[in-house]
């Protein structure tokens, strides 16, 4: 299933050309929310690039993850404006509430966290996005409430 997906995704890219490596990785990231190990093997064969090179390229950039995203993917902006408006406090709180750090996923697969550069909403700083939905001018207590609500919801549905 996933293998078929990968094959059709690779078809777009001619074999043996390194310039298609990043677009292909981006497609994979888009598809699965992360880069699975088996896919790297296949990609290496298709593009005829050593797997170590692919791994080296992928780990260089912020965008690529090697663990899946959680059901709730938190993105915290750590750009200058957000920092000046307290992003570091939000980060601390998120880390302690979710029990994970940047780039990680919680054991139950519910939460994942990504700390990134400016999201483009400096005027609304600090900004946090959950599954792509933006929340601006976020106060510590608003954030706490948000996480608690999710936790509540999850424990009810579970």
């Amino acid at each position: 299933m996933s293998e078929d997906k990968l094959e059709s995704l690779l078809q777009v890219y001619p074999s043996g050309r390194q310039e298609y490596l990043i677009p292909a990785l981006q497609d994979m990231q888009q598809q699965w929310g992360y880069i699975p190990e088996w896919a790297i093997k296949r990609l290496a064969a298709h593009l005829q690039i050593p797997a170590s090179t692919i791994y080296g390229v992928a780990t260089f950039y912020n965008q690529f993850r090697f663990v899946p995203k959680g059901k709730y993917h938190f993105q915290l902006c750590y750009g200058t404006a957000c920092y000046l408006f307290g992003a570091s406090t939000l980060l601390q709180e998120l880390e302690s509430m979710l029990g994970i750090k940047d780039g990680e996923i919680s054991d139950d697969g519910i939460f994942s966290l990504e700390v990134g550069g400016c999201l483009g909403g400096c005027a609304q700083a600090p900004v946090v996005a959950v599954n792509g939905e933006f929340y601006g001018n976020l106060s510590l207590s608003q954030l706490q409430k948000m996480v608690e609500n999710i936790k509540l919801e999850e424990s009810i549905s579970a």
């Binding site: 950039y61 690529f64 550069g117 483009g120 700083a125 933006f134």
Partner: protein, 625 residues
């Protein structure tokens, strides 16, 4: 549809409308503020009531803090600029407007037009310094035309310059023209654009490339994004002219993948331009062909550096290469390549259209034209502004974007983000210009301005920048890779409580400051690329200017801005404490001791200055020193 339009301070707008005309700013900042829902609410309002009106989405006008911004033009009335229109207020706002009532709390400005009837008690755009002190040349269409409609760009005079260029000029003439205009690279370096183009034009290679650098990952900069989101065709037109001028036929736009709206806008614009024959094969029967591809950067600040950018397009790790050879000799796929910034390209059509002399008449002796800045931080408006070169920084910060918010005092300006300079109040009188700033020991940077007020701590902000640089260093060369880490550690030591395990902590802290300058100097003179070379710029420029701040953190272990949490001492005021006991269980280190109804106390040695108790105490009994 032919549009009759008027202009106020470079802001074009349509005059006569027969049905209400509503525009919503839907750039990234607008979208984050909720513009999409606003737009949907408007459409829903109109359909529910079967009202005929025209709605359009536009890019951004540059008033980020007033987003979502909506412009409404009712037939016969002056056009209104409405601020903070959240979806919840759409209905009442439109109710008002359709009853010819002014929605007072949203009204920000109106466009003066003698033939239309004005709204009472709303300032005219030409009365607001935010607009009058700007000169919107490159941003003329931003927030005014629909970026998804090439016709609007065409009716604003779009692609005329390109047609003029390919029908009336040779490549060499165009390079001359750009050189004559005095256009210099807008990414900050100020390299003469015409000269760069010429060296590619005259290199004898069959294949040449052109790259538009839209990486812009300098935190606090969003000029390029706003241009692309608001007026994508201007960038494409500039690129098309440039590609023709240097004899290339393949162009790339390298853009941050986080800029999803900008990418969509560009993709759409490229498709439209192709359909209309402005891109593609044998453009307008001139024999010139051009293909523009979008490359999305998967996230790395250093990829803004041109050789790293090229490596990234080639599918490699974005690590810079030693120069020479410069990209104009050996660039993408080892072929001569022009790399210019988005804003640089966006300047090109209007230069070709109005002539080099017109462009050279704007600005200062060596810096011509205008410059766009993205201003964030503690100013009244977070905004995007375009001013003539030569304008003073003070005018930008205090007049155009309204000075500091909430009546606080100005503290510092970081010009050019983490690799730029740190400016004091006195330096704000410096006129904007590459050489003018350089003479003052500063540099222009790409256009990001971050303004700090008295509540911000310089040392903490520098610490933030050093951490950013440490993460963004590509790791290729030793001085930058290892140096950025040591710099960030020096600032950690300044802003944090010493680790009790390290006996010599004070000595290490002071040693760090002593090493700062020589280390920064080695990084500056030996690093491979601009990132390492300028990683310590903000620090070096702050070191003398903000000496008291350094000393206070260094010797007194104090942060008077009360930002560096760990330098704060937390105590409980016996007078205010009611003995409710709420704080004690919140303390992660059990530093708060006491028994109910008596005064609680904080054991200083145990306190890690997390501040949790302060949030918990309802009686404000916990004091911070």
């Amino acid at each position: 549809m032919a549009l009759s339009s008027g202009t106020v301070n470079g802001l074009t707008y349509r005059r006569n409308v027969s049905v209400p005309f509503i525009m919503v700013g839907m750039g990234t900042c607008g979208t984050i503020a909720g513009a999409k829902r606003t737009f949907e609410a408007i459409e829903q309002y109109l359909t529910e009531r079967s009202i005929t009106a025209q709605c359009a989405r536009v890019g951004c006008l540059g008033l980020c803090s007033l987003e979502p911004l909506v412009e409404v033009q009712m037939p016969g009335r002056c056009r209104l600029l409405l601020k903070n229109v959240h979806h919840s207020s759409v209905a009442s706002l439109l109710d008002d407007l359709f009853h010819q009532i002014l929605p007072v709390e949203h009204a920000f400005a109106q466009y003066r037009d003698e033939s239309l009837s004005a709204w009472g008690d709303v300032p005219f755009v030409d009365e607001l310094p935010f607009f009058t002190l700007q000169n919107r040349v490159v941003l003329a269409n931003c927030g005014k035309i629909n970026p998804f409609d090439i016709d609007e760009y065409l009716s604003a005079g779009g692609y005329k310059a390109f047609q003029k260029a390919i029908s009336g000029y040779t490549s060499a003439e165009l390079c001359d023209l750009i050189e004559e205009s005095g256009l210099r690279g807008r990414s900050g370096g100020g390299f003469p654009t015409g000269r760069k183009w010429k060296s590619v034009l005259y290199s004898n290679a069959m294949q040449k490339y052109l790259i538009c650098n839209a990486e812009e990952s300098d935190p606090g900069a969003f000029m390029d994004r706003a241009i692309i989101e608001g007026d994508p065709h201007r960038v494409l037109e500039g690129m098309a002219i440039a590609t023709y001028a240097v004899g290339a036929n393949k162009a790339y736009i390298y853009i941050r993948s986080e800029y999803s709206i900008a990418i969509q806008t560009l993709e759409h614009a490229i498709r439209q331009a192709k359909e209309r024959g402005f891109l593609g094969h044998n453009i307008l029967n001139s024999g010139f062909s051009l293909d523009i591809a979008i490359k999305k950067c998967p996230g790395a600040f250093v990829c803004g550096e041109e050789t790293a950018l090229i490596a990234s397009i080639e599918g490699k790790r974005g690590m810079p290469e030693t120069k020479p050879p410069y990209p104009s000799i050996q660039g993408l796929f080892k072929k001569p390549t022009v790399v210019n910034n988005v804003e640089t390209f966006a300047n090109v059509p209007v230069i070709v259209q109005n002539g080099p002399a017109w462009f050279a008449s704007l600005g200062t002796t060596n810096s011509k034209g205008t410059k766009i800045f993205a201003i964030s931080g503690k100013t009244k408006y977070t905004a995007l502004v375009e001013v003539n070169m030569g304008t003073s920084l003070r005018k930008v910060i205090f007049d155009i974007v309204g000075g500091i918010k909430n009546g606080k005092r100005f503290r510092a300006l970081f010009l050019g983000g983490p690799i730029g300079h740190c400016l004091t109040d006195e330096e704000l009188d410096t006129p904007i210009g590459f050489d003018e700033l350089r003479q003052a020991g500063l540099s222009m940077g790409s256009g990001g301005m971050v303004v700090l007020d008295e509540d911000n701590c310089i040392i903490d902000t520098l610490r933030y920048f050093t951490h950013f640089m440490q993460q963004q260093s590509c790791g290729k060369c030793i001085p930058c890779r290892e140096g950025t880490r040591r710099l960030s550690e020096i600032f950690d030591k300044l802003t944090r409580k010493p680790d009790p395990a390290v006996k010599a902590a004070p000595i290490e802290r002071i040693k760090g400051i002593m090493q700062l300058e020589p280390l920064a100097d080695v990084m500056r003179t030996t690093s491979l690329c601009g990132l390492g070379q300028s990683a310590a710029t903000p620090i070096l420029s702050a070191l003398q200017k903000f000496k008291p701040d350094f000393e206070e953190h260094l010797y007194e272990r104090k942060c008077s801005a009360k930002v560096c949490k760990q330098l704060k001492t937390y105590t409980i005021s016996p007078k205010l404490c009611t003995g409710c006991g709420i704080c004690a269980p919140k303390c992660p280190t059990e530093a708060i001791k006491g028994s109910l109804r008596s005064t609680y106390r904080i054991i200083e040695e145990l306190c890690i200055s997390c501040g949790k108790c302060v949030d918990a105490c309802k009686f404000n009994a916990i004091l911070i020193q």
